[in-house]
């Protein structure tokens, strides 16, 4: 990658941190932001990198995609995997279903935001990291399983950033 030619990337953490694992997307992004601020993470020079803790504002993720940026959305998911497992995929790889049957605890909103992104012709620039959640009850901390795997999740996102143009 030549300095100055790197395309802008937004990493958007989604979820409610008051619902334990539902907020894992926000926790992942907050950790990445600390690493960036402290200099622990040094993306390539010239890369415009936005780290956004968006909470439940899935429309904001759509806004970043519509702005011509690459977008990595990080969100809790129900994928039938062991708790703490995570997958990186593109919108076209999955079908987002209703609130009670679907991929993410607040996926009805995420599904609408992704439809918007798709209809605006921006879906190809979107990646989604789904993280299998364990406990989405009231409370602010992540379950131990998810907490323990935060570094792996962050490493995978950094790897994805390195793969994007």
């Amino acid at each position: 990658m030549n300095a100055g030619t790197a395309e802008p990337i937004s990493i958007i953490g989604l979820g409610n941190i008051e619902k334990r694992d539902d907020g894992v997307g926000v926790r992942v992004v907050e950790g990445l932001r600390e690493q960036l601020d402290s200099g622990e993470w040094r993306p390539e020079v010239g890369r415009d990198l936005a780290l956004v803790a968006a909470g439940a504002d899935t429309l904001l993720a759509a806004a970043h995609a519509a702005d011509g940026r690459w977008v990595i959305m990080v969100d809790a998911a129900r994928m039938g995997l062991p708790a703490g497992e995570f997958r990186m995929f593109e919108p076209g790889d999955v079908e987002l279903r209703g609130r009670d049957q679907g991929l993410a605890p607040h996926d009805s909103d995420l599904a609408e935001a992704l439809r918007l992104v798709n209809d605006l012709g921006c879906a190809e620039r979107v990646r989604i990291m789904g993280i299998q959640c364990q406990d989405v009850g009231d409370g602010c901390g992540l379950s131990q399983r998810l907490q323990a795997r935060l570094p792996e999740m962050q490493a995978r996102i950094k790897e994805e950033v390195g793969l994007l143009p």
Binding site: E18, V52, A53, A54, D57, L59, L60, A63, D67, R115
Partner: protein, 446 residues
């Protein structure tokens, strides 16, 4: 209903129930019951459970209260923080610097832009364009959707640069900021507002002008309430202004809100000089019209808004006027701060904790917001009261419905048209229904 068209006969019977009104925050139901020409029921049922925030913060330190109460709402989190901080500072005798006030105003304006853009384009515009949500507009009006998303993103970016997060900012504490934005941040915001937001707002005006005829031409005479400040259109400070009764100090807010309970709603209702009053963009506009900035005034003129605006559906149009106004106001503050540079100020701490009470108000996107705390001499909350805008608007919605139903019948609307118009009415208030459910002890008499 035996057919889809309702004629204006005096013996008409009508039953409309809209469970879970869409494109509003939270859950509310519309219930209309008219029997043989007599309107039996016309109201918005709020069915959300109470949230107990006032009880939750008892015993917590003054340093934690704004962060906790900002969680009352994901859309008005900045407004709750501002109001909470002001109430705490008043109670504990903390005076903040001019720079802190200016930065807080900038954040307030950013949050106002974000919320207004969200409502105008994503919640209200689908009604005006005859589609069920914004999603179909991505195909039919992609440039408009992209513009709306661009405006929303910039508004969120402003909150991020000033407050540390796009929502629920974490740099605001009693006495000031834990981390200040750089002068470069302020220059970036100024550049984006001048070169992106202003042109987009002007384009939004042209769009709204083409849709203005889609707003129902319904009017109801009522009382409009909002803050009014000396010398500027009030968002951050001021006294309580009423189009009926004039000014009331914020400390006497309970004499304005007069909360009461009704059987059909888990949210309290409010009334002042009449059976209800209206807060929000129209509440502010009708009390601050003479203080609009020049471009915002031009927008109001082009949309035909002149006080007293009595059509609740035009709250959405008033939000566009305010969006332009806060952009202009932000540019003024940014010029001031950039010219002198951001000073490295630490948050002001109280010399000594003391017992005290502070009641304060700000204008959040949906209207006037009150926080009222009593602290003990350890700086811990012993009593709290938060009255949010939607609580103040619920009775106004009911009163509007009571006049709107006969008005729609008189117009010969079909039941489907009436249902949509009732939903549009509720959406015009831009309600935060979850936030409105705040009370602690309610006794229903049914």
């Amino acid at each position: 209903m035996s057919n889809s068209t309702v004629s204006g006969g005096p013996r008409i019977s009508l039953n409309i129930e809209v469970p879970y009104v869409t494109r509003v925050e939270g859950h509310g139901n519309i219930v209309i019951d008219m029997r043989k020409g007599k309107l039996i029921t016309s109201h918005l049922e709020v069915v959300e459970p109470p949230r107990y925030f006032e009880a939750m913060i008892k015993g917590f330190s003054y340093m934690d209260i704004a962060l906790i109460t900002s969680r009352i709402c994901g859309i008005c989190s900045v407004g709750h923080q501002m109001t909470s901080l002001k109430a705490t500072e008043k109670a504990l005798g903390i005076s903040v610097s001019e720079q802190t006030v200016l930065l807080r105003k900038l954040l307030t304006y950013g949050a106002t832009m974000q919320s207004h853009v969200l409502h105008i384009f994503f919640l209200a515009a689908p009604d005006l364009l005859g589609v069920p949500s914004v999603v179909p507009l991505a195909a039919s009006h992609p440039d408009v959707v992209k513009m709306a998303l661009r405006m929303k993103k910039l508004s969120n970016d402003i909150c991020d640069r000033l407050g540390g997060r796009t929502i629920h900012p974490n740099r605001l504490v009693p006495g000031g900021f834990t981390k200040l934005p750089s002068t470069a941040d302020l220059k970036w915001i100024r550049d984006m507002l001048a070169n992106q937001m202003v042109p987009d707002a002007k384009a939004s005006l042209e769009l709204l002008k083409t849709l203005a005829g889609k707003f129902p031409a319904f009017e109801r005479d009522t009382e409009y309430v909002g803050l009014r400040d000396a010398g500027e259109y009030a968002f951050y400070d001021g006294q309580i202004a009423s189009t009926d009764t004039g000014l009331t100090p914020v400390g006497n807010y309970l004499s304005v809100t007069n909360e009461f309970v009704v059987p059909h709603s888990t949210a309290k209702h409010c009334r002042h000089a009449r059976s209800s009053y209206f807060v929000g963009a129209l509440g502010r506009l009708n009390n601050n019209f003479d203080l609009l900035n020049p471009l915002a005034r031009s927008v109001a003129d082009q949309l035909g808004l002149k006080p007293i605006v009595k059509n609740p559906f035009l709250n959405t149009a008033a939000q566009l006027v305010e969006t332009v106004h806060v952009v202009e106001e932000s540019l003024k503050i940014l010029d001031q701060l950039i010219a002198r540079g951001v000073r490295d100020e630490k948050p002001v701490v109280p010399d000594k904790l003391r017992e005290g009470r502070g009641a304060e108000a700000t204008e959040v996107p949906r209207g006037i917001l009150f926080h009222d705390y009593t602290y003990d001499n350890r700086g811990q909350v012993v009593k709290a009261n938060c009255i949010i805008p939607t609580t103040q608007n619920t009775q106004s919605i009911d009163d509007d419905m009571r006049e709107l139903v006969p008005w729609m019948i008189e117009k010969g609307m079909s039941k489907e048209q009436m249902t949509l118009t009732l939903e549009m009415l509720v959406r015009a208030y831009d309600p935060c229904i979850s936030c409105s459910v705040h009370f602690l002890d309610v006794e229903f008499r049914t």
